[in-house]
């Protein structure tokens, strides 16, 4: 082992500061969410209590964030399932050359670079002109997919770029049909990576704000509800909600990580190295 160069410590300190920068504000509101019952939105602390967390479970003066939370959860799952299945399908297709592949690729990428508010506005306008009602599960769902699908597809590209095709060819040589090859060879090999796509799909949807803003209709999703609360609430219950959603997000990530770890361990046991070298 070589000796650590001084730059290591310098960069390490920089990294530590960066982490502090990333987590600092979240910690601030984490602390403030334990304000006493008479505390406000800013320091100083006015006693300490779990009053505002308890308050979360009571009826609020305005709004309904448990409803919003359950809508976000359902929408997140819908988006997650669609994103995983559609990106896998598209990822498989893009391994072969087909006419229109380039145009479709650029269309997908453009979905990432078009500012979200424009997508939101455009989808809202279409529904308005067609005289359809915007709903979180129709227009909102579609608008969110334009954000999660490109990410999903890009990850699938990364996966298939590193995919060893010889397994597949071996299966074909043994007489497996196209579907059998996909079902019994390709999918099990890429399964651990799909966890990543699923995590992306869920959290991008769960936290999506701009694309949902004009497409969610009369019922709010959680980020819209939080946005509403920033203008409607003057108590630390807002921070309690923030702390809780952050904890929930962290919980989801942990579940995915554990699951991914388990999948990887399992595939390693089965002598599969498809996941190697992928972060």
């Amino acid at each position: 082992m070589e000796r650590r160069v001084p730059s290591f410590y310098l960069l390490g300190a920089f990294f530590a500061l960066f982490i502090l920068f990333l987590y600092g504000p979240t910690l601030t509101i984490g602390i403030l969410s334990f304000q006493g019952p008479n505390g406000g939105l800013t320091f100083p602390m006015n006693g300490a209590s779990v009053h505002w967390f308890a308050n979360l479970f009571e009826q609020q003066a305005v709004g309904d964030f448990w409803g919003a939370f359950s809508r976000s959860l359902i929408l997140g799952l819908m988006v997650m399932v669609s994103t995983v299945s559609l990106s896998v399908m598209a990822g498989l297709a893009f391994r072969e050359r087909f006419r229109g592949a380039n145009i479709l690729f650029y269309l997908t990428i453009s979905s990432l670079i078009i500012p979200s508010i424009l997508v939101s506005l455009g989808v809202g306008l279409i529904f308005n002109i067609l005289d359809w009602e915007v709903q979180w599960y129709s227009s909102g769902f579609g608008a969110q997919l334009t954000w999660t699908l490109p990410f999903g597809l890009l990850i699938m590209f990364a996966v298939f770029n590193r995919f060893d095709k010889s397994y597949e060819e071996a299966a074909r040589d043994l007489g497996a049909s196209w579907w059998q090859t996909i079902r019994f060879v390709v999918l099990p090999m890429i399964a651990p990576m799909l966890i990543g796509v699923a995590l992306f799909g869920f959290t991008l949807s769960y936290d999506e704000f701009a694309r949902t803003l004009l497409t969610a209709g009369s019922k709010n999703t959680l980020p819209l509800e939080i946005f509403g609360m920033t203008t409607n609430v003057t108590t630390p219950v807002l921070y309690a909600l923030g702390t809780m959603t952050t904890a929930f997000s962290l919980g989801i990530i942990m579940v995915f990580l554990v699951f991914a770890y388990w999948m990887r361990a399992r595939s390693r046991r089965l002598g599969n190295d498809a996941g190697k070298g992928m972060v």
């Binding site: 800013t42 003066a61 305005v62 309904d64 009602e133 209709g217 009369s218 203008t231 003057t234």
Partner: protein
């Protein structure tokens, strides 16, 4: 939501029609017994969807509605802009619109609301004059701007243009209103404030704020410019292009000089600005003041010599409502004016459109403090049981007649509205 088949509802309606006025009164007081059972059960299946600003879309109301009337009221609280947007563009998303009068003026033409038959409104006669003739007392002078009575009536059930006097068909049933002025932090200012012009006083550089809702903000701006003597208006509520230009120029200069700390869009933002000390003088709404004070921070709703800028809101019915749901909506409105809600709103610092019924739901001390401007005998609590004012305090600005009698202008939508909105946006962007 469970919809009643239209046909069934219509046939039922013809039966109910005659009885509605009588039954309405009974239902309004919570006595459901004695009704044809078929209706008593059906009305439980009705769900009315209401939206409006956070001030009056409280879940407490929905709970009380299901207790008293038996049907379900779904509430959505939004900011002013979203409220306007929904009233104008999403007629399918609501049954009852809880909007302000200036919003009504803007969106009535969209045809998403239907006029209401005042003969079905039990307490119509007790509604204060402001919403009917425009006059608080027979001697009052009508203030400038979009005064509620001027957009409160239309010619008939399908009327498109506003009528100048009472017609029996109301656009909005008035529910809530108030007189607004500047809020200040007396502890941080340390001297008396008596005029709107103080908002742009360089002494408060970086510590002033104004609200960023054009139809309301422009009126605050006009009050300031007029009191500074910089601009003379023909009618503040209906400015000419030059008047708009002059007003916005003064405010743009002030903004560039760093007068403003922030602009706010909902009243809770103003609470946070004031409570944290970021701002010491700003346009503010009454409950925001009480919210700051309830945190133990001194804050005064400063009466000013030029008078108040006032606003009013009411309930409008979606044009899509018919049959049983429409009947339920009338029941709901009658219930609204029956006093319980009024008392609830008054105890937050707003005024009820029918003060006489609200009085029944307030203690003598509360009525004395909030309405009559008398010193509080004991601690004054808000509807949620939190102490707002200590014994001995007097409401800023005094009694109902002192405050509503000194209204200088109403929130307004002008003929030059499109131009004004552009200029306002340019001011915000400057």
């Amino acid at each position: 939501m469970k919809k009643i088949p239209l046909k069934a509802a219509l046939s039922r309606r013809s039966v109910l029609k005659g009885a509605a006025a009588v039954t309405g009164a009974a239902i309004g007081s919570g006595a459901i017994t004695g009704f044809p059972t078929i209706w008593a059960q059906n009305i439980k299946n009705v769900t009315l969807r209401q939206f409006g600003t956070g001030v009056s879309n409280l879940n407490e109301f929905a709970a009380k509605v299901s207790e008293d009337l038996g049907f379900t009221l779904e509430m959505t609280a939004l900011d002013s802009d979203s409220v306007t947007q929904r009233a104008a563009t999403q007629p399918k998303s609501f049954d009852i619109a809880d909007i302000e009068y200036w919003i009504c003026k803007k969106v009535w033409g969209a045809g998403n609301l239907q006029a209401m038959d005042t003969s079905k409104i039990k307490n119509y006669d007790k509604i204060v004059g402001i919403f009917k003739s425009g006059k608080l007392t027979p001697e009052s002078v009508i203030a400038q701007g979009t005064a509620p009575h001027s957009v409160g009536f239309v010619d008939g059930p399908n009327g498109k243009s506003f009528a100048s006097s009472e017609t029996g068909w109301m656009t909005l049933i008035p529910t809530i209103y108030n007189a607004d002025t500047l809020g200040i932090r007396p502890d941080l200012i340390g001297r008396p404030i008596s005029t709107w012009a103080e908002l742009l006083n360089p002494e408060f550089k970086g510590k002033a704020s104004i609200l960023d809702i054009s139809s309301i903000g422009i009126m605050d701006a006009a009050m300031v410019c007029e009191s500074m003597g910089e601009v003379t208006y023909g009618d503040k509520g209906n400015m000419t292009k030059e008047e708009i230009d002059k007003t916005m120029a003064i405010f743009t200069d002030a903004k560039k000089a760093g007068q403003f700390r922030a602009f706010w869009k909902s009243f809770d933002e103003s609470v946070n600005l004031m409570a944290s000390g970021e701002v010491v003088i700003q346009s503010m709404w009454s409950p925001a003041i009480t919210a700051v004070r309830s945190k133990g921070i001194p804050c005064v709703y400063q009466p000013l010599k030029e008078g108040y800028r006032s606003w009013g809101g009411g309930l409008g019915l979606s044009a899509n409502l018919s049959g049983l749901e429409l009947e339920a909506a009338y029941e709901y409105i009658n219930w609204y004016l029956d006093g319980w809600v009024g008392g609830f709103l008054m105890r937050q610092g707003y005024y009820s459109a029918v003060p006489s019924t609200s009085k029944n739901y307030m203690s003598e001390d509360e009525w004395g403090f909030w309405f009559e401007g008398k010193p509080a005998q004991g601690d004054i609590k808000n509807p949620f049981g939190k102490v707002m004012e200590k014994a001995g305090t007097i409401r800023d600005g005094g009694s109902f007649y002192d405050r509503m009698g000194a209204v200088a202008c109403w929130n307004a939508v002008m003929d030059e509205n499109k131009y004004m909105v552009r200029k306002w946006n340019e001011f915000i962007a400057a």
